[in-house]
């Protein structure tokens, strides 16, 4: 065998991002319906606002990629625009934003953080870090409640009948998106699954000891969405077959532990911490589990 390459698969950052962005459609479509049409007192701005964050996030991602990518004549437009995952990060963060967040705060903070992430090569979850910073800026500069959750029954959580951002759309949308990602052999869906299951088991146990509803603990604050899209970021997460499972379980455990202290930031802090140790998790889980088997 020699070193020349003649044929390659069609998988690229563009195709990976495209699948992830398309899998957001169930969330976006159901979110628009439940958060706008079903609510009384809507106007056009209120209808478009949740979608605007996703669109602004997309534009910022495109801008950052265009500025920082070295362009060759042979490169296609999709290769330049999707030279990194920043478009995906921008759209997902847009979906995570509550309509209470100032659009200007969101745009400027995101742009600065994306530029810094391009300049400094640190293996860290950019989405988690960006959300934490935007949340803290918004919390300490405004007096709004960032998330409003109104649910009338447990069923509402399953179908996402709660107000908030676009992603407040529940378990069914999560399952559809998970199916789309799994079928397209997205290798990091194991992280989402293990994080979700670990978190669900811990909250189920907790719900027996507290008066809290299991559905409220699991589905509030869109933890499942965050596990599905933010935790499974390709660059910052573990990549080995055993590592992704351990990575997901750790995220589930840390999220549960932080949930009572800071319910909104819990999953993001959990993801940020585990992303810092993703290489170590890969190394140790493969070493330890290999020894156990032998």
């Amino acid at each position: 065998m020699n070193n020349t390459v003649f044929i390659r698969s069609k998988i690229s950052i563009f195709t990976i991002s495209l699948v992830r962005l398309l899998s957001l459609l169930p969330f976006i479509l159901v979110g628009i319906y439940l958060n706008t049409f079903k609510i009384n007192n809507i106007n056009l701005f209120a209808f478009l606002k949740p979608l605007t964050y996703a669109f602004v996030g997309l534009i910022i991602g495109v801008l950052v990629n265009l500025i920082f990518t070295k362009k060759n004549k042979k490169d296609k437009l999709s290769d330049i625009l999707f030279s990194s995952f920043h478009i995906e990060y921008g759209v997902i963060l847009g979906c995570l934003m509550s309509p209470s967040v100032s659009l200007i705060t969101f745009s400027i903070t995101l742009l600065i953080l994306f530029i810094i992430s391009k300049l400094i090569d640190i293996k860290i979850n950019v989405m988690a870090l960006s959300f934490i910073i935007i949340y803290l800026i918004t919390k300490y500069t405004t007096s709004f409640n960032l998330v409003e959750r109104i649910a009338t029954s447990d069923k509402d959580y399953l179908i996402g009948n709660i107000t908030g951002s676009l992603l407040s759309t529940g378990f069914i949308s999560y399952l559809i998106a998970l199916f789309i990602l799994r079928v397209n052999s997205s290798s990091k869906t194991d992280i989402s699954i293990y994080a979700s299951i670990t978190f669900a088991i811990l909250t189920l146990i907790a719900s027996f000891f507290t008066n809290e509803s299991f559905y409220e603990l699991v589905f509030i604050n869109s933890y499942l969405f965050i596990f599905l899209y933010v935790a499974s970021d390709s660059i910052s997460s573990s990549y080995t077959l055993k590592g992704v499972k351990v990575y997901g379980i750790l995220i589930g455990i840390i999220t549960f532990s932080l949930m009572l202290i800071t319910p909104i930031l819990a999953p993001f802090i959990a993801i940020l911490i585990t992303s810092l140790f993703s290489t170590v998790i890969d190394k140790l889980s493969n070493k330890f589990l290999k020894k156990k088997l032998t």
Binding site: M1, V5, R8, S9, I11, I13
Partner: protein
């Protein structure tokens, strides 16, 4: 999660079932391996199927009739120079003595079958008569090749007859004929004929690369018990050759090779004589559409670039491709883990690239390089299997 690797680009390659032949090159080149003695003098006539070279392990027979001209040292096998006997073709295909065909090959004694296989050096690994399992691979080693497809579409009756004969002669307990589900013609051809052979189990597997490699197919197909009992592994081409030697007690003088690539008009399977120069095949059988090609032997994914067109066709030649190379630049690793996930032997190419992993078990299938979204060429780090 599905770790099958489907080479989508190969699904569009269609070949004609017409039998293309190139039996009339001007010269044939017979490699003069170390320790081999020439059985004939120079300038003497040689007949087809006549014993030409005697060695300690195997003999070489002439694939054509003609005149021994000289010994040429500008001949290559796998890009390595070798001395070769040049036989000038007289285009008569004269044989020493015509032999009558054996009517029923399953009437042959096991010792006779093994003797013939050994005499004509049919298999790299001799058939193990005490193994309990027989695995037949109808799966292409490289997804762009079509040798097995061609053989199944044109010779399925002969192949099945041979398998049945081998089962009866050697009493194999289990026989699996493996094909993939992406070629409906092959599936149809076999399913319509295999009913009369209840001893042969047809296994239609998901189209995945590199299922055509013995180690990968066998590990997927056989249980630990079956592996322990030992198995025999044959390809469709092996079966066709076995059929021919059992029927006629003559050496095999020709080889089926797939000719393809993005620099020629259409892919095809051609029957050529052993010892034909690659340059002769290209000159006489291929319409080139793009001059900026490299000649690749034995697959587009794991094949080798031929630095010299004076390479000759040997038993190990399966295909030649005239293809442009991928010139896109490597990007930074995105940590997706696909290289590891799609590796059939469970290696970690990313770790090997960083100089930390163990590459000793690599089977050099090229799947990691094929699948990488960042266009990283892992072949550089995994080493050349010829070294």
């Amino acid at each position: 999660m599905n770790n099958n690797l489907e080479v989508v680009q190969a699904n569009n390659i269609k070949i004609d079932n017409k039998i293309n032949t190139f039996y009339n090159p001007d010269n044939i080149y017979i490699p003069l391996y170390k320790g081999m003695k020439l059985n004939k003098d120079k300038d003497l006539n040689v007949l087809k199927n006549e014993l030409l070279l005697k060695g300690s392990d195997f003999n070489i027979y002439s694939p054509i009739s003609g005149v021994i001209k000289k010994i040429d040292d500008d001949i290559y096998i796998n890009n390595k120079p070798i001395k070769a006997i040049v036989i000038e073709n007289d285009f008569k295909e004269e044989v020493k003595k015509k032999k009558y065909a054996t009517k029923y090959i399953d009437d042959l004694e096991p010792s006779k079958v093994l003797e013939l296989m050994n005499k004509y050096n049919i298999l790299d690994i001799p058939l193990n008569p005490i193994a309990k399992t027989l695995v037949i691979s109808g799966i292409e080693v490289d997804p762009f090749e079509r040798n097995n497809t061609f053989i199944i579409n044109n010779y399925s009756a002969k192949i099945l007859e041979t398998i049945d004969a081998l089962i009866n002669i050697f009493h194999f307990e289990k026989t699996y004929f493996c094909i993939t589900n992406n070629n409906s013609e092959v599936v149809y051809n076999l399913t319509s004929n295999i009913g009369t052979y209840p001893n042969i189990k047809l296994k239609v597997l998901d189209n995945s690369y590199p299922l055509g490699l013995e180690s990968v197919l066998v590990s997927k197909l056989l249980t630990k018990k079956e592996l322990k009992w030992k198995y025999n592994y044959l390809t469709c081409e092996d079966l066709l050759n076995i059929y021919r030697i059992l029927k006629k007690d003559n050496p095999i003088s020709e080889k089926l090779i797939t000719v393809g690539g993005n620099c020629i008009d259409e892919s095809k399977v051609i029957a050529v004589k052993y010892g034909t120069k690659i340059s002769d095949i290209i000159k006489n059988n291929i319409e080139i559409t793009n001059d900026k090609y490299l000649v690749v032997e034995n697959g587009l994914i794991a094949g080798k670039v031929l630095s010299e067109l004076n390479n000759i066709v040997t038993r190990n030649t399966r295909s030649i491709f005239l293809n442009t190379k991928d010139t896109r630049k490597e990007k930074k690793c995105i940590n997706c883990g696909l290289c590891m996930f799609k590796c059939p032997v469970g290696l970690n190419p990313k770790l090997i690239k960083d100089g930390k992993g163990d590459k000793s078990k690599c089977i050099h299938c090229g799947a990691c390089t094929y699948v990488c979204p960042s266009l990283i060429n892992f072949k550089k780090y995994l080493g050349d299997k010829d070294e």
